[in-house]
Every structure is written in C-alpha cells, then in structure tokens.
Symmetry: C2
Subunit: 288 residues, 2 copies
C-alpha cells in the first residue's frame, strides 16, 4: 500500500469524509461486519465498520466523555452500568474513571471488534479490560436487556453503529421498553442518534420510540470531529425529568467527588449543562 | 459531467470532505483565487475558493447566525457595522435583519465572488444587496480599516478565507490594531479562526495578535457541518470584557427587540450564552 491511498467513508451516498492512509493494520470480515483498522496521517489510528468511521485516536475523547460523563454525573450516584456495543473499550474506560461505579457490564456482539481494539487501539481503552469492576460479555445486547432483572442498572449506555445493519435492533421499541424495565427509578439510558444535519429521520424515529417508555426523552449534543456533519445527537431517556436541569455548579461538585474534574478535553460542567440546549434545526425533529 | 464526479476539499493534505457533484455551475479563475460553484446532491449549492468549501445552501445558517447575531446582540446597540469579506452576501443579510442597524459597509476584495454569488446563491443573500442601508465596496479590507475614521463602527465582522492566500493579511497585527482604533469603546470584532481540531496553530496565532490591542480577547464556538472537524472557533475581541457575560435571559429580550427571535435555525439565546464555554482542547490554545 502506498501513502497515496485514501479511504472514503461510505455512510452517505453523496457526501462524506476521506482519510489518507499511512498504513493499513487490519482488514477482517467478522461474523457481523467488515472491520478495517488503519493508521491515518491526520487522526492517529482509525476503526471503520462497514465503511463507517467508528473511532479515531485523535478525537475519541469528545464522544466518550459526552456519552459517559453526562449521564453518570447527571444521575449522581451510579453504581451499576450497562454498556452495549462500544467494543473499542473507550466507553468502558471512561465509565471506570468514576470511582463510585461498582460494576460495569459491557455487552458487545462482535468479538472481533474487541480483539482488534485490544491489539491496535490500546491507547483508547487503557487498563479498562483488566479492571475487576468490568464484566465484558461477547453477546447480544438485545437478549441481555430482555433477560436482565428489573431495576438492575442505574445507567445504560448504548454505543452502537448507526441504525442500519448490525446496530438496527438497538433502536427498536422492544429494546427501549426493556431498558425502562431494567433501569432504577432514577436511571437513564443514552445512545448515539447520529448527526441530525444528515440523519434527521433516525433522530425522529429514535426519539419517538424512546418517548413511549420514558417520562422524559430528549437529546443532547456534542461536536465530534470525525462524525462529520456538525453536532451529533446523543439520545437521552429517563423516568426523572429533573436530571437534565442540574446546574453546572452542582455538576462541578459531583465531578470533583467522582475524580473526573480536570481529566477531560471536551467535557466541562458548563458544556454538560449547555449540551441540552438544542439548536432549532435539531429541536424541531423531537416530539412536543 | 456525469453524476459520478466528486469534488474533494483540499484544505488539509491528509483528511477532508468530498461532495458528489450534481452539476457544475461556474468555474472561474478570478484575479485572486479559483472559484467553483456547484450543485451538490447533499447540501444544495456550494461555493469553493482555492479548493476550500466556503458556503453551502444547506448549512450556511449556522455560520452566519453565530458570526452575526452573537456580536450584535452582545453589544446591544449596534448601528454601524463593517463586514470584511463575506462576498456571498450571507453575513450582510443577517446583519440587516437587525432593525437597529443603520449602515452596513461590506468590503469584499473579489468582485467575482460577489457576481457569482448574486448569480447562483441568491437564496443566501435574499434582498440584502438592494437594502438602502448596505454599502458594498469591491476593495481591500486592509486599506479600508487603515483609512476609516476613529470610532466609526460598533461591530466589525471578518468573514474571510483561512489565513493562507488571499485571507492571510486579515490576521495580522496591523489589521487588529486598526480594528481597535475604528471601533467605538463598546465595539467588538469577530472573525473566523478555523477548526481547532485541525488548525490549532491558526487559533493560537490569531488569538495572540488580537490580544495585543484589545482588553478582552477570546473565541466562541459553533458546529458548522461543512467546516468539517467539529467545533469552529470564532474569534472575539472587545475593549469591554463584560459583553461575553450577558445572560441568556437578557439576550432573549434584546433579540426580541431586534426582530431576531424566531428567525434562527441554530442560534438561540442559550446557545449564544453557552458558546463562550470552551472545551479544554480549545481553551488550552488561548493565552492565559
């Protein structure tokens, strides 16, 4: 492979990003999807699933920090966390930063994603895989939420591919209904809902489905450089509607107690609180 | 031209966006730069200068609203506005939305950009070109700020290309020194400072230069879908450091009085106030 080779993201048929490839590290057809890991010139190592960029070393902090710290600190006393997907280990690593977390169960359907991440993306997961609080299951997240006991988790973090292909079943009504059942009364579920400037339909569908089983359903936003298209929407559903209203000052106190303050590159208490303020171009896709 | 033709943005050597082209509308070598206007499948019409995407019909609102409404409403009584660059007319159109604005002088160096924008991007400028408050000058913005009288503008909005090529002179110390001189004591100058995840050097340089001539210099952020790379930094310099601290509630009152409220797709009073909260990965490039 020469250094003039480029990889084009194929998420959208008519627009997208491309990376110049320094070195291809792996190309695997797993039981579920095509997996490519390569070294880029611009963003460190990059993992691509079925042509869609999942994570880069350079900017993974944006997505992980916002997907993890926001629900955990808004809740304020999370002990049991369920992670679905997130085979790169980045979400698990951020969850385990919270010293109050007693147990983090991670269910990733594709063992090859985990294996390749351990081999090539160790900078993202750090020591998460060997943390005694982590329980990593290669299996079906849908089946897990179907079988889990009532009120067994304080937070559910869904870090899936887009609602096409292998990730599609994570956006169904049955899934959200089970999430509501297995969450504690103050529990919260978050999931990635795509980039509204390009994926408004997914945003509308996902919000409608979540809303059926939770008293409070919305999205919050983060600008992830390599999820191109401006703000990404992160889905939020909880039984307690006050969780999104907590002041930056209170979040700062909690983040200090949880050992998060000062460890982040995107998340701050103010950005946390502000992330629920939606631009009209996003808000208009949400019910009510 | 077939519909299989793509245009690759060439801003960065190793990463970038690409558009599938529905129809090329214009390709001109002006006195200053290469100008391409095309119809995309994904973002309506797009203007590209020297290989860099300047504006698309689909998402221009993000950039224009944040570059215009934030300084004008933070100031609160802007009557005379200087716009440098912005040949597409989009900034001018947003400035003239503010009913308190008495005069908007726009200085664009490249008359071909204006001509092509009038021909192909009329949806962006609306009726701005024929507004009696608008004074459009094809000329050198540097010379204009050098010659303008002291304290003659309440706000200066610099909508330039990146600090390479034709736009480079708009990021110099002499330019900012003149901006400080021709602004009123409560005046503010804003400019685009690129995307910090890719252009940290430009952010640092520009902030350092602004800081020499203004008591308060910072940046605020907006996520513009086709300025790929996450948050874009918009430079801010003012003599009065309180302008960035105005509450969302007060901004809402001002926006109502100025006839802005309800006209926006990205800007809201809350997003306005929150845009000055910077992620650490951006804040660390700013002085002190």
């Amino acid at each position: 492979m020469t250094t003039d080779e480029w990889i084009n993201e194929t998420l959208y048929p008519d627009w997208g990003q491309r990376f110049r490839v320094k070195r291809e590290l792996a190309r695997v057809r797993s039981k579920f999807q095509d997996i490519v890991v390569f070294e880029s010139f611009s963003h460190g190592r990059v993992m691509v699933l079925d042509g869609v960029v999942q994570i880069t070393e350079a900017d993974e902090f944006v997505y992980q920090e916002m997907l993890v710290h926001v629900p955990l600190l808004a809740h304020g006393d999370v002990r049991n966390v369920l992670i679905i997907g997130a085979g790169d280990g980045g979400v698990l690593a951020r969850v385990l930063q919270h010293c109050g977390v007693e147990r983090a169960v991670m269910v990733e359907i594709d063992g090859d994603v985990i294996a390749l991440s351990k081999q090539f993306l160790g900078s993202i997961s750090g020591s998460a895989w060997s943390d005694p609080r982590a329980e990593v299951i290669v299996g079906d997240g849908i089946a897990h939420v179907r079988q889990a006991p009532d009120a067994s988790y304080d937070a559910i973090i869904v870090d899936s591919t887009d609602p096409v292909g292998v990730g599609e079943v994570l956006f169904t009504e049955e899934f959200y209904e089970n999430c509501a059942r297995i969450l504690t009364p103050t529990g919260v579920v978050v999931n990635q809902c795509g980039v509204p400037s390009m994926q408004a339909e997914e945003l509308r569908d996902s919000a409608r489905r979540r809303g059926k089983f939770f008293a409070h359903s919305t999205v919050y936003v983060a600008a992830v450089p390599t999820y191109v298209g401006g703000l990404m929407a992160l889905g939020w559903a909880a039984k307690d509607a006050t969780l999104t209203k907590i002041s930056a000052a209170e979040i700062r106190v909690r983040a200090g107690a949880a050992s998060i303050l000062g460890t982040t590159q995107y998340w701050t208490p103010e950005i946390h609180a502000g992330a629920f303020n939606l631009p009209p171009y996003i808000a208009r896709h949400l019910p009510g």
